[in-house]
Symmetry: C2
């Protein structure tokens, strides 16, 4: 589905009078980056000259701009732009408070956390009072979980062996490396050719053994019936989950697929537009793993709503990552979830892709297949000045010969 990505980002820098900076971005895969830039510019009135303290109010103001809502509401280009700005505000906040974002969030009171969330359209599944009760119930163990994260990190899985087109030798070698590096799970892309999927899954099982979690990812390739047929043809290999079997908009389709491929669990989320669609996926019992993305829905605030919804329905969050900087951001959300929301690592892993981390000032660190808990202040969102200069369009060095 994504044959020719050209990883890009519309990049936001917010500056305050006290000398702090907040960085954020909308990740794109090439064309359309200038559309994101225009959308971010449309949000300038919400941040320029404003106080950056009350991030619940700023977020809700942006989402509820009555004219900009017409372009969504709460989906697509405008919503990704809101995400970039909201995430930059959180990077700024975390730097000012001298905390990595996950810890900043995890030290907030249940009441403060609930105030960050827009509960509109959620009350049939989750009320503010229920959210508050859940957060309070998770308060007692916070300190121990912070300590555990600092000691052991958060479990990760890797997609590196999984790309289409690898021959058996390469697949074997990459599976072996994933095991050696301590990753908790791998993932295979599927859906182009069933015989090739069978060959690769056979090889991966040979290397990883019968019990190691191996997920499959279809990147929205199928309609409902073909998803059920294809996944059932791979069922004997014990897929840990099937990811994005169909359109991210198709709640009922995911529910029908979940029913049709049982006991294979269904996962989705990287393209799910907002908390309202996640709510329905959970209500319909359509997903067994929820794969939130740090830069598609309305930033940290909406992702807190999604973490609360997942916890309410008892569905583990296994975040999507990759792209540019998505690993850097999403680790903070997963760690906050562990400390203050779900309180659990059970069935939970963060995706890891070993790509483009060299451009970030505070890149993710993987040790023994775990994300090491970030310790520097901020959201790990800031790119290195020399990377920004080289890749800025159209003046940067990398564009000179194009």
């Amino acid at each position: 589905m994504n044959p020719d990505p050209d990883y890009s980002a519309a990049y936001v820098v917010l500056r305050t009078d006290d000398g702090h900076e907040g960085h954020g971005f909308a990740f794109t895969i090439g064309r359309g980056n200038d559309v994101q830039t225009a959308a971010i510019a449309a949000l300038e009135p919400y941040v320029i000259g404003r106080d950056a303290e009350d991030l619940g109010t700023l977020y809700k103001e942006m989402v509820n701009d009555s004219q900009l809502r017409w372009l969504g509401p709460e989906k697509g280009v405008m919503h990704m732009a809101i995400s970039a700005v909201v995430n930059a505000l959180w990077d700024l906040r975390a730097k000012r408070y001298g905390r990595p974002l996950w810890l900043l969030l995890a030290e907030m009171s249940p009441e403060e956390i609930v105030d960050l969330v827009d509960f509109r359209y959620l009350s049939d599944a989750l009320t503010p009072d229920e959210a508050l009760a859940m957060l309070r119930a998770a308060e007692p163990g916070r300190r121990e979980r912070v300590a555990r994260l600092r000691e052991q990190g958060y479990p990760a899985y890797t997609t590196s062996p999984g790309w289409l087109g690898y021959d058996d030798d390469k697949l074997r070698r990459l599976c072996k490396e994933a095991l050696d590096q301590g990753f908790k799970q791998i993932k295979l892309k599927v859906g182009a050719d069933l015989q090739d999927d069978i060959r690769r899954f056979t090889t991966a099982r040979e290397v990883c053994g019968p019990d190691f979690p191996i997920a499959i990812d279809a990147n929205q390739r199928w309609d409902v019936a073909s998803a059920i047929e294809w996944v059932n043809a791979l069922r004997r290999f014990g897929p840990h989950w099937v990811e994005e079997p169909t359109s991210p908009d198709d709640v009922l389709g995911h529910a029908a697929i979940a029913e049709g491929v049982r006991p294979v669990p269904v996962a989705t989320g990287e393209h799910v537009q907002n908390r309202i669609v996640f709510k329905q996926l959970l209500q319909a019992g359509a997903i067994s793993y929820l794969q939130l993305d740090s830069a598609r829905v309305g930033g940290v605030n909406e992702n807190i709503a999604i973490l609360l919804l997942a916890a309410k329905f008892g569905v583990p969050v296994c975040p999507h990552a990759g792209g540019v900087g998505l690993c850097e951001l999403v680790q903070h959300l997963a760690m906050f979830d562990y400390v203050a929301v779900s309180g659990s690592l059970e069935g939970r892993v963060i995706e890891y892709v070993d790509h483009l981390h060299e451009h970030f000032l505070d890149p993710v660190v993987i040790e023994n297949g775990n994300y090491v808990a970030p310790s520097l202040p901020g959201f790990s969102a800031q790119m290195r000045p020399e990377s920004i200069a080289a890749h800025a369009y159209p003046g940067g060095d990398v564009w000179r010969d194009q």
Copy 2:
């Protein structure tokens, strides 16, 4: 929900070597118009220098651009931009063939019509073969229905009495005018204050009588429980439908509301992002009226898919209109539906708002509460040159003193 609209449009003009022009636009309510402009510019490679004949292929190419899909897929700003370009291509086509669009479409063969549709993600509800069978079944009466449209037009309803804040005298006068003008239905905005809704509905019933269709429209104001409670408080007035009771993304919410307010029918669509969400609303039995919009989903092509889905499920299409030029466009789709898809006017009305038609070269004409079938070639999409010149941002006259 839309307290301060400033009706705007990102306007597209396509020109061919043979001297024809196609016009289209993305309607906005103010801020964000420049975001739409950037999104339309991102689609230039799909039209500049291309042959404008195969509109099935051009549409599918735009929707399936793998990089631009990342910004959706098929929703929000990018999808509205595709709509503007696709609709401009259809305006061009209809002018070249010397036909009003509704007639051009209605003269196409079932096979040609099916080729225009992207059936991806629809096959669990509608296959190409089923669509073909439906279109073939509707072929016999096409000529009679064309004649009937030319003689009698297509029934319309008006929202003019329905805005919040009118006192009883004004509401009474506008209801009376709507009846005198022959409109088949009126619509009241609701959801701000229940006592005020009761007062206005009481007055409207007094003027219009017990059986005249009076719909209510909440513009997405409610969560599920409050929608059910509010609508049931108005049930004794016999609402013809309740429109947009909650988020347009909430299929399960609409289904729960439909269940909770039965027998009051539920309607939605002006903000529904694409055919995949419409498919689910129909599968879930969540809507009794489908209100497609001409300029939000992927243009004429995707609206044909939506008309076919509605016909398959036996749900009448009562299009959304208003804004800038939405009446002009959508009448063509409803008339095509009548001639070649559903073959029926039963339970069907097109919304009418008496606003801004003076800017169009081929404005809608209402006679005795019916849309008169357009006879000029094209999609009625072209604005008057002097209107474009005066409103062009930032150089136009109307911006001079702002």
